[in-house]
């Protein structure tokens, strides 16, 4: 169905894909496996016409093709269900499903009846029990994901790419999805399935392709390979569990949360009575599915929702009031936001100016900013964290994801925080940079810092955390010590609600 030849895609500072060759067959589910940053999403964006500037060739149904945009790819018969939801929140389900492909009657007016009927039947196939006129913003995340899937089904595409389709849905919804995939397979459609959940892949996939560091490593039949072999191919080495201190003898409590609640206007509360402690020298991992409230929890601690939250926050056993970020910062809390580009960095500014931003006072001489001091400060952190940049005057957006993330970290280290809040600290950065990040985190806690790390990657949570908290729908559903944690019990706690 689809063959790629020597696909290469470069971004400033990183080669995301290098000579990728793969084959996707009709009537088969092909799993694309690789760690975050291996290049899966980039590859899918090329196949679906999002990125149009790449080297190499793509053959679709034996014909060479080159898409000039997503509409092109859709017309050719390739549909993608993106990992991030791409729905318009204030339109209804029907309007979203038919967006850009609206049915019209003989007069050129919208044929709402026909669209409603089609949407109803699509939702039925997917066993989603909601009215197609419902506004998408009112749906649960899992239901929104199903709408996204319905959109792809409507296209009746020959190749359907599913990028982490189950990251936000419940077990029963997964079962329905798998049924739909079976049907598609019998209709001789080709399906590309990307997931971190290996168990799922063994259940549904026929073939596998492993990507690592932007290269195709291996492909083959799913039933011919074992779980551990697959992981080893993904990672490129045997995974050695990190040297971790399993003992539970840390005593000094740095941060204590008491009954943190977060309300939402016109909606169910985002957070319900969250209470826990972070001790010095400890990495607390927080796991949960999309929409579980993890990011909101960190934001609340950091003072981003002062009007809607309640509860008490103690630092070093002293209660503090956090109404805005500076209160949290002065209390000794630092936040690495989930989306470093959107929230962490001023991308058009030089590296040194980003690093000095939260602590400009320190580079002042008699009220004026001193370039020498600022440069020295930046250089110190660039060296300490091993940030790879031609100079401290480089514009931040030209650096790779891993180095950008280190800059966000550097921003805070100068202020010597007591508690670091890390939201998806290794999202979209390559394996090496990831390992460096983990090492940095362990260095920091060994110096007496406390870290809360939110992550969607189970392996990351399991390798890095000393203690794991699992969240679902705004509550903490489990607290598991690292020694007792397994993929199974963590995932179960993340899904177990209602």
């Amino acid at each position: 169905m689809l063959i790629t030849k020597n696909i290469t895609k470069k971004f400033p500072g990183v080669t995301a894909l290098e000579n990728v060759n793969l084959q996707i067959d009709a009537g088969r589910v092909t799993a694309i496996i690789g760690e975050n940053g291996a290049g899966k999403s980039t590859l899918m964006k090329i196949l679906s016409g999002v990125y149009t500037d790449y080297e190499g060739q793509i053959f679709f149904k034996d014909k060479p093709i080159r898409f000039n945009g997503t509409a092109d790819a859709q017309d050719a018969g390739i549909a993608i269900i993106h990992q991030e939801l791409n729905l318009i929140p204030y339109l209804s389900i029907t309007e979203n499903i038919f967006l850009g492909r609206e049915l019209v009657n003989a007069f050129g007016l919208l044929d709402k009846k026909a669209m409603h009927a089609k949407a109803t039947s699509l939702l039925q196939t997917l066993c989603v029990d909601v009215e197609p006129n419902t506004i998408v913003a009112d749906l649960k995340v899992g239901q929104q994901q199903m709408v996204e899937i319905a959109k792809a089904l409507l296209l009746d595409a020959d190749l359907i790419i599913m990028d982490e389709p189950t990251s936000a849905i419940t077990e029963s919804e997964v079962a329905t999805l798998f049924k739909v995939i079976e049907q598609l397979r019998t209709k001789n459609k080709a399906i590309v399935y990307i997931s971190h959940k290996l168990n799922e892949l063994f259940k549904i996939a026929d073939n596998y392709i492993v990507l690592r560091d932007g290269k195709t490593i291996e492909s083959g039949k799913m039933h011919a390979i074992g779980h551990d072999d697959l992981i080893q191919k993904m990672v490129g080495r045997e995974i050695k569990p990190m040297q971790k201190d399993f003992t539970n003898n840390r005593t000094s409590v740095l941060l204590k949360l008491e009954n943190i609640c977060l309300k939402q206007r016109n909606k169910a509360d985002k957070l319900h009575n969250i209470s826990f402690e972070v001790k010095a020298g400890e990495i607390v991992g927080i796991f949960g599915l999309m929409g579980a409230g993890r990011t909101e929890l960190l934001e609340t601690i950091f003072g981003l929702h002062p009007r809607l939250c309640s509860g008490n926050i103690y630092i070093n056993n002293k209660k503090i009031t956090i109404n805005k970020p500076i209160d949290a910062i002065e209390g000794g809390i630092a936040l690495l936001p989930e989306d470093r580009k959107k929230d962490g960095l001023v991308l058009n500014m030089e590296v040194k100016k980003n690093i000095s931003l939260p602590c400009l006072e320190e580079v002042e001489v008699m009220g004026l900013l001193n370039d020498k001091k600022e440069t020295a400060l930046a250089k110190k952190h660039i060296q300490q964290l091993g940030i790879k940049t031609p100079s401290e005057n480089q514009v931040t957006k030209n650096l790779s994801g891993g180095n950008q993330q280190k800059i966000v970290l550097a921003k805070w280290l100068e202020r010597d925080p007591k508690v670091l809040l890390l939201d998806e600290p290794t999202r979209g950065i390559d394996v090496n940079a990831k390992n460096e990040m983990y090492k940095l985190m362990q260095d920091l806690v060994s110096k007496g810092m406390g870290i809360i790390m939110v992550s969607s990657e189970l392996t990351e949570i399991l390798t890095v955390s000393n203690r794991i908290l699992v969240m679902a729908e705004g509550r903490i559903t489990a607290e598991i010590n690292a020694a007792d944690a397994t993929e199974d019990n963590v995932l179960k706690a993340a899904i177990s609600i209602n």
Partner: protein
């Protein structure tokens, strides 16, 4: 030279080249253009625009806009003029407060700063988009000007006041000194103090700035207050120059200021820009106005040409940044 700086300077270099070409063209076409007297004339003419445009630059770097400056200029000019002329008379208390020149000027600037402060307040605390908030202020300030002056000009002042608009100091017109002072101060603000850095950070990425602990609202309010105060300075200069505060003064001055800022390479989406660029932009507009007048081009065509130059400047700027 480092890439970023090089690119930055390249943008300014382009404006500089454009300015040179304009000067050469006008010098060839008109023998009145390339004279000291005309040069000083241009500088005096643009000094009010520079006062306003400097404030506008700061606002635009935060990704905001201030449409109210023209009206604020008129109101503050009228207030200063009125206080000089009539003071404040409270008839019911049989009280009369007279104002010295300095006092009247100070009062005018304070009114400007206050209006700017209200702009900032509306934009930050009440989340009114800058375009709408300052558009409202544009109308309000114009209305207040009419109320204050009853729609009549307030005219004839002491020579010591008109000196501000028409006098000379060390071989340069006084307004040029005022503009120069403002430019130097603004360069220090943008390059050398925290506030300036925060302005760029907010315009570049407001979320990141907020999460870095910067008090976004405070910075924005300060910036709009500065813009208001600088518009007031412009208003006082205009009033002194004409020896009269016209209730219609400053109409559409905000557009000239925005044009200078944009031609100078400051991005309307924020985070990028420079005071020097704005000065160059104001010079380009000034030279263009002056040259076209000297060449006796119809005022209607002058507007067309001016608009074309603005469009061209932004297109060139976009083409430069696209390749980054």
């Amino acid at each position: 030279m480092k890439l970023a700086q090089y690119k930055n300077n390249f943008g300014k270099l382009q404006s500089l080249i454009a300015l040179f070409i304009l000067c050469i063209v006008f010098a060839v076409l008109s023998d009145k253009f390339f004279t000291v007297a005309n040069g000083l004339n241009v500088m005096r003419q643009i000094s009010v625009n520079i006062c306003i445009a400097v404030g506008m630059t700061l606002v635009i770097i935060t990704a905001g806009i201030d449409l109210s400056v023209g009206s604020v200029l008129a109101l503050c000019g009228a207030v200063t003029a009125g206080l000089l002329k009539n003071g404040i008379a409270l008839h019911s208390f049989n009280l009369f407060i007279g104002f010295t020149i300095l006092g009247a000027i100070l009062a005018g600037v304070i009114v400007g700063a206050l209006l700017g402060f209200f702009n900032g307040l509306a934009i930050t605390k009440f989340k009114v988009p800058p375009f709408v908030a300052t558009l409202a202020m544009l109308t309000i300030a114009r209305g207040l000007t009419m109320l204050y002056s009853n729609g009549f000009p307030i005219s004839s002042f002491d020579a010591s006041f008109t000196f501000i608009g028409g006098g000379w100091l060390l071989g340069l017109p006084v307004p040029v000194w005022i503009a120069a002072l403002i430019v130097v101060a603004a360069i220090i603000v943008t390059k050398k103090i925290k506030l300036g850095r925060y302005i760029f950070a907010i315009g570049g990425n407001e979320n990141a700035a907020k999460l870095s602990g910067i008090n976004i609202n405070r910075v924005k309010i300060i910036v709009y207050t500065i813009a208001g105060a600088l518009a007031a300075v412009g208003g006082i200069v205009v009033t002194a120059r004409l020896d009269s505060a016209q209730p219609n003064a400053g109409t559409s001055y905000e557009l000239d200021a925005i044009a200078a800022v944009v031609i100078g390479g400051t991005s309307l989406s924020g985070g990028r820009g420079s005071i020097w660029g704005t000065v160059l932009g104001a010079l380009i507009i000034g030279v263009l106005n002056n040259g076209l007048v000297l060449l006796d081009v119809s005022p209607f065509w002058q507007q067309v040409v001016k608009g074309g130059v603005i469009l061209l400047a932004v297109i060139i700027d976009k083409m430069n940044t696209k390749n980054e």
